[in-house]
Amino acid sequence: MDEKYLKKLVITRLNAVPPDVSFSIGKYGDYTRNQLIEEVEKESEVGKAATEMELNFLRKLPKFAKMVE
């Protein structure tokens, strides 16, 4: 998968979270959904952490699906 596609995927998935949700990410502080999307677009440290979180979740999705079968 190319990086452009991954970024789009991550942003689409973050957009599925309601806008009145923030994520607390330790010392980085608090980020609303939209701020997190901006960070992903900028490819900042926080954006990279958010991308990793999304991709990690997607990688584990087959395992989670088996859990509810």
Binding site: V17, S24, K27, Y28, E52, M53, N56, M67, V68
Partner: protein, 213 residues
Amino acid sequence: MTRLFITRPQHDKGTHYLYVWSEKVICSAENHGWTIDKSDGAKATRNEVQSKLKKKPANFVFFNGHGNESEMCGHNQETILDESSSYLLKDTITFTRACNCITKLGKSAVDNGCKSFIGYAGKFWFPRIHKFELTPLKDMAAKPVLEVSNQIPLSIIKNCTVSEAVDSARALTIKYISKLILSREPYDRAALKALSQNDDSLTYEGNGNAKIE
């Protein structure tokens, strides 16, 4: 007398949530007859924390707040413990509900005699819904994530080994993920991501069979 030492800085929204959600752990320890020693809010400073660890050695240390690979922080991000002071955790079981601390601080603490050090190798994430800022216990997005992390200290207080406490948190993660993954509630999507991420980075250094005697 079994002693819990807990730090609960409260200088931002994230630490405020951890402060409030830690109350359940304090209540459980009290109900089990433990002595509780707290460094709360602005008192969670390097001087106070290190002085308390020296003067009143604890069996179980529970740090809440922000951290990095080699430091645990207190009020206003002041470093309260680092690799040079990790010897203060000698003979304790320690849990850091903070980012990354296990990587260097945990290893250093165990090298200096800490029985077992539980923590997160990566970022500790949790979601929160804005309208619950003043009532964190009602926040349905934060609840699964903070309940899972509370499971560690609650298990240690109930005399579980470190390994059992971590397994218990993982089992609760699976229980929540199995439930939330089928949910149509949009707020649950935020909790799912954080549960999955935190579960990956939860680990311990030292003796997995350690428990409070």
